[in-house]
Amino acid sequence: MNIKEGIREGLGSKILDWKEHSARRIYFLIDQKDIVEVTKLLFKELGLRFSIATGTDTPEGFEMLYHFSHDNTGQFYSVRVLIKNKEKPEIDSIAPLFPGAEWIEREIWELVGINFKGHPNLKRLLLADDWPEGDYPLRQK
C-alpha cells in the first residue's frame, strides 16, 4: 500500500480537506482536537519524519502547519490546523510523543503566542529573558 492511501485510510473522516499542490507537496486540513492522533499515525505508525511546524497569524485564526516528510518517496505532507480562538489560542502538544518537536513548540509559543497543552518544558527558546510578557513578535498587528 502506498503511503498516500495509508494516510487517507488511516485517518478517514478526520481529513476535512485534501489538497495536492503537486506530486510531492500535499496539504490536508484536520480539526485541532485530532492533532495528537494524526501525529501518532504519521510519525509512529507510518514512519514519516517530522520536519518542522509553522505557526501563522491569519485573519481567520492561528494556522498551524505540521510538516512531515516521507523520505522514500520524497512526498512532503503538511497537516493544517486552524485554531479559531484568537483570544486564547491553544492546541495539544505533540512533544510528549517524541522529543524532536520540543524546540519548535517552544519557539511558536514565544513568537506566535500559541499555548501547547501538555508540553514537558514550555519555556523561552530564542527571546531574551527581559523581553516583555505577552508581546509576540510574529503576530500581525
Binding site: R25, T56, D71
Partner: protein, 402 residues
C-alpha cells in the same frame, strides 16, 4: 552525595566562535545532564522577510549563515518557485546546473571547515591547518564563479544571477583535480589512524532510534544509519541526472560522522565535474515578474542536512509568512542524548560533531554557582579533550614492541 560540577560552554563557544551556551552537569568524569541554551543570535529574520520584496529576500536569508549562504537562498527560491509550478518548470537548464555546482562547492568548503575544527578539538592541530589550507582554493573557486568568497548572491527566483564563463571551467576542473589528493590524505589520516579510531569510536553515540525521535537530518542522521538525503529524495537542481551515492554509516558515533563527511567530499567533487561536463549553453534566468497567491515549500540538502523554507504569498510583492528551518535546529537538540553518559573530555567533540551552526539555529542562562559547585571554562575543556588524545597516543607508543 556525589560532587556535581557545572561546566559552562559558552555563550562564546570555545571552538566555533559562535554564541550558544551548553551547561554540562558533571559528576566525576561523567556528564549527567545538559542544558542547551540558544537565542543569543536571534535576529528576527522571519519577521524581516515579511517586509522585503521577493527579490530582496535571498540577500537577507543568505546572511542567516556565512557557511550555508547558498543553501538558504536556494531553499527560499525553491519555495517561491513551488508556488509558480516547480523549479523544473520555471528555471532554465543551465541555471539548474549552476545552482547544483554552487550547492556542492558549499558542501566541500563546509565539510573541510568542520574537519579542521574537529581535528583541533581532539588535539590534531596539523589536520586543522591542512584542512583549512585546502579549503582556500574552494573559496577561490567561489570567487571565480560567483564573484564572492562568501554570501554568493547567486540565487534568484527564476534562475541565477551570474553565468559561469567558459574559460573558467577548465581552471575549476584543475582545482578540483588538485583537491582530490588532499581528500585522499585526510581519508588516510583519519580512517587509518589508530589513535583517532580509539579516540572517536564509540564516543557520542546517537542510535538509529534516537536519530528518528530527535528528527535529526543530514550527515548526523546518515551516520546513524538513516538513509535520507533531500538531493535524492526530493530532487532539485540536476541531481537526478548525475551519478553519485548517498553515504550511510551505521555506528552513530563521532567516527561515523567524520567518515560520512570525508566520503561525501568525493561525491561533491564528482557531482561538480559531471555538471561542468554536461552543462548546456543557454539562458540563466527566466525573468519572473509576479508571484501569484499561494504557498510553497522548498527543501535543500545543506551541508548539515535538510534546510526548509516555507513561503506564503497573498499576491502582493512581499511574502506574508516566511518560515525558515535550518538543519542545526534539529541536530543541536539531539546533543542532549549524545552527550549524557559520556565523559567530560569527550563533551567538546561530541557537541561539535553535529557540525552545529548557531547563526542558523539560534540562546540565555544565568550562571548558577552554589557552594559545592565548581565552574570550569571552555578552554579547560578543550585542554581536557586534547590531553585525552595525548594519553591514548602515549599508551599506544608504550605498547609498541621495542
Amino acid at each position: 552525595m556525589s560532587h556535581r560540577v557545572i561546566v559552562p560552554i559558552g555563550p562564546y563557544h570555545p571552538l566555533q566562535e559562535e554564541p550558544e551556551f551548553f551547561q554540562l552537569y558533571v559528576e566525576g568524569e561523567k556528564v549527567v545532564d545538559i542544558d542547551i541554551i540558544i537565542g543569543y543570535n536571534h535576529r528576527g529574520i522571519e519577521k524581516l522577510a515579511e517586509g522585503k520584496h521577493y527579490d530582496q529576500v535571498p540577500f537577507l536569508v543568505e546572511r542567516i549563515c556565512g557557511i550555508c549562504s547558498s543553501s538558504h537562498p536556494y531553499a527560499y527560491v525553491l519555495a517561491v518557485e513551488d508556488i509558480l509550478g516547480g523549479e523544473a518548470n520555471v528555471v532554465p537548464e543551465r541555471a539548474l546546473y549552476i545552482r547544483t555546482i554552487v550547492n556542492e562547492l558549499e558542501r566541500i568548503h563546509s565539510h573541510l571547515l568542520w574537519l579542521g575544527l574537529a581535528g583541533h578539538f581532539i588535539g590534531y592541530n596539523t589536520v586543522w591547518m591542512w584542512a583549512w589550507k585546502y579549503r582556500e582554493p574552494v573559496l577561490d573557486m567561489f570567487e571565480m564563479i560567483t564573484g564572492n568568497r562568501n554570501n554568493y548572491a547567486m540565487m534568484k527566483v527564476g534562475g541565477v544571477r551570474r553565468d559561469i564563463k567558459e574559460e573558467d571551467i577548465s581552471i575549476v576542473k584543475k582545482m578540483l583535480d588538485e583537491l582530490v589528493p588532499a581528500v585522499d590524505m585526510f581519508k588516510g589520516a583519519v580512517m587509518d589512524d589508530p589513535v583517532i579510531q580509539a579516540r572517536l569510536k564509540g564516543v557520542g553515540i546517537l542510535t538509529k532510534q534516537q536519530a528518528i525521535d530527535w528528527c535529526v537530518v543530514g550527515p548526523t542522521a546518515r551516520a546513524s544509519g538513516l538513509n535520507i538525503d533531500v538531493r535524492r529524495d526530493d530532487v532539485y537542481g540536476v541531481y537526478d541526472r548525475l551519478n553519485w551515492n548517498v553515504i550511510i554509516e551505521k555506528d552513530g558515533d563521532i567516527f561515523a560522522k567524520t567518515v560520512v563527511r570525508i566520503l561525501e567530499l568525493y561525491e561533491c567533487v564528482s557531482i561538480i565535474r559531471q555538471c561542468l561536463d554536461k552543462m548546456p549553453k543557454g539562458e540563466i534566468d527566466a525573468d519572473v515578474k509576479d508571484i501569484p497567491s499561494g504557498e510553497g515549500l522548498g527543501r535543500v540538502e545543506a551541508p548539515r542536512g535538510e534546510c526548509l523554507h516555507y513561503v506564503k504569498s497573498d499576491g502582493t510583492n512581499r511574502p506574508v509568512r516566511h518560515k525558515i528551518r535550518a538543519p542545526s535546529f534539529m541536530n543541536v537538540a539531539s546533543n542532549k542524548v549524545a552527550c549524557i553518559g559520556g565523559t567530560i573530555s569527550d563533551a567538546t567533540i561530541t557537541l561539535a560533531a553535529v557540525d552545529p551552526c548557531y547563526c542558523c539555529t539560534e540562546r540565555v542562562a544565568v550562571m548558577r554557582k552554589s557552594d559545592n559547585e565548581k565552574v570550569l571554562n571552555g578552554w579547560d575543556l578543550i585542554k581536557l579533550s586534547q590531553e585525552k588524545t595525548d594519553k591514548i597516543k602515549e599508551g599506544m607508543l608504550n605498547a609498541r614492541p621495542q
